[in-house]
Symmetry: C2
DNA sequence: ATTTTTAATTGTTTATTATACAGTTAAAAA
DNA sequence: TTTTTAACTGTATAATAAACAATTAAAAAT
């Protein structure tokens, strides 16, 4: 036997929701679609899965193509599968969401895609079911970021506490008390204070911090809810 | 244009991790695979996605086939896509996890699959990458159940607090103080005390409770972490 | 009828964590 | 030297979590 009998075959694709933060707004990176249908329309960066790669590899390849970047935070989000989501032929697409440090992104790398950053609040119309993908990605980001320290992936390696607070406030569209915020983030033990200050945002300047990578990885899975002793969480 | 040019096509499948709780142990439902390769081996219930259905529909169809049940809790888990995960031909499989009330399940419905419930601690070897799927499903169940009231999906509509506690202790492989447990679950406002008792487990008997469905749906998304005012979580 | 047995039920004290709230300080600009 | 602006810090109170043991209902045994 070298094939399953009487089954319908189709294409598989990935689409990437790429988040970035410019210090002011949460943004996502869109491109102008380069082929029919919907050629020239704003679209998520995506592509077909090749025969010799899995979905993670496909999305990493595609992200590298667009941004020139490797090893960013990347997580499988959801697989979208309505039979008619692509009008040409059946294509099942797995959405990934990526978090990148906007400063590392260099515009010129992929001029052919005409990429642009759009604030989440002012997204253009997207093709196919990509609107839904973006909505789900936003929800997932909020959800995960409330429990895990993934927001740091959106910041440069040196950042200030006011920057971090701006990011949280922007993602959750809320305001947080400065005193309580710094108390909490410092209490995590995740931040190492640097000697230098960032003078760009104020006269006084704000101290830079860096992630304590050991604590970061050690505490990444921890969360604070219902379960008495998280170390018991192993069968 | 009626096809994309020069792309490789493949099969899409779904595999279901079906959880149940017998009052003692958390279990999953496995079947004996009915066709080659690996015919006769223990396997998750699954099947190929048809041309006219999406993944949710496919998994619902397959679950109905096996259990006779409709409308159970069902959630897309992850899409598994290693090029060689199925030795016959490329098949990308999306795993779903399902929670069902073991009491509603009737054995005779699908004798052709030879289904059996296995305690999570004593699973047989599974085919392909299904071991990995089950691991991920266990992790996801623990994760979600710590934040959302999904455990009730595993219990009959009338249940006792000791039953509920057993379930939590079994899923998290831990012990919880009885007084604190009942205080917390009662404080959620999710439980309505019934007049009758369940006499099966003890001489004294334990009062039955039912879910307050309004509060259940209203509070399903709520969680207790970092964000000051969850009602602000709308852009 | 009384006693025994078993698991269900209930409450208080203490520790920890979250929340509310405002004055001081560093440093550039005026 | 003064003004301006945003960074920085601390305390009191409220809410929540955690630790801990005695009582009670009801069947079973005597």
């Amino acid at each position: 036997m070298n094939r399953y009998y009487k089954q319908s075959r189709g294409l598989n694709a990935v689409d990437c929701i790429i988040f970035g933060f410019d210090g002011e707004n949460l943004k996502i990176l869109l491109i102008k679609r380069g082929f029919e249908p919907e050629k020239g329309k704003w679209s998520l960066m995506g592509g077909f899965v090749q025969g010799n790669e899995n979905l993670d590899q496909a999305s990493n390849r595609i992200l590298k193509q667009l941004t020139g970047l490797d090893g960013m935070y990347l997580e499988q989000l959801h697989t979208f599968s309505d039979p008619d989501r692509d009008p040409i032929e059946r294509t099942i697409s797995t959405a990934y969401f990526a978090l990148i440090d906007l400063n590392k992104y260099e515009t010129q790398i992929s001029a052919e895609y005409h990429p642009e950053w759009f604030a989440l609040k002012r997204l253009p119309k997207l093709i196919f079911d990509q609107q839904e993908m973006v909505e789900m990605a936003k929800r997932r980001l909020r959800y995960k970021a409330a429990l895990h320290p993934i927001m740091f992936e959106l910041l440069p390696s040196r950042f200030t506490i006011p920057q971090l607070q701006n990011l949280y406030e922007s993602v959750y569209n809320t305001t947080i008390d400065k005193r309580n915020f710094s108390k909490r983030v410092l209490a995590t033990g995740l931040l190492i204070k640097q000697d230098e200050k960032d003078k760009s945002g104020s006269k006084r300047g704000a101290f830079y911090y860096q992630l304590n990578m050991q604590n970061y990885y050690a505490n990444f899975q921890s969360f604070l809810n219902f379960i008495p002793n998280p170390t018991h969480l192993i069968f």
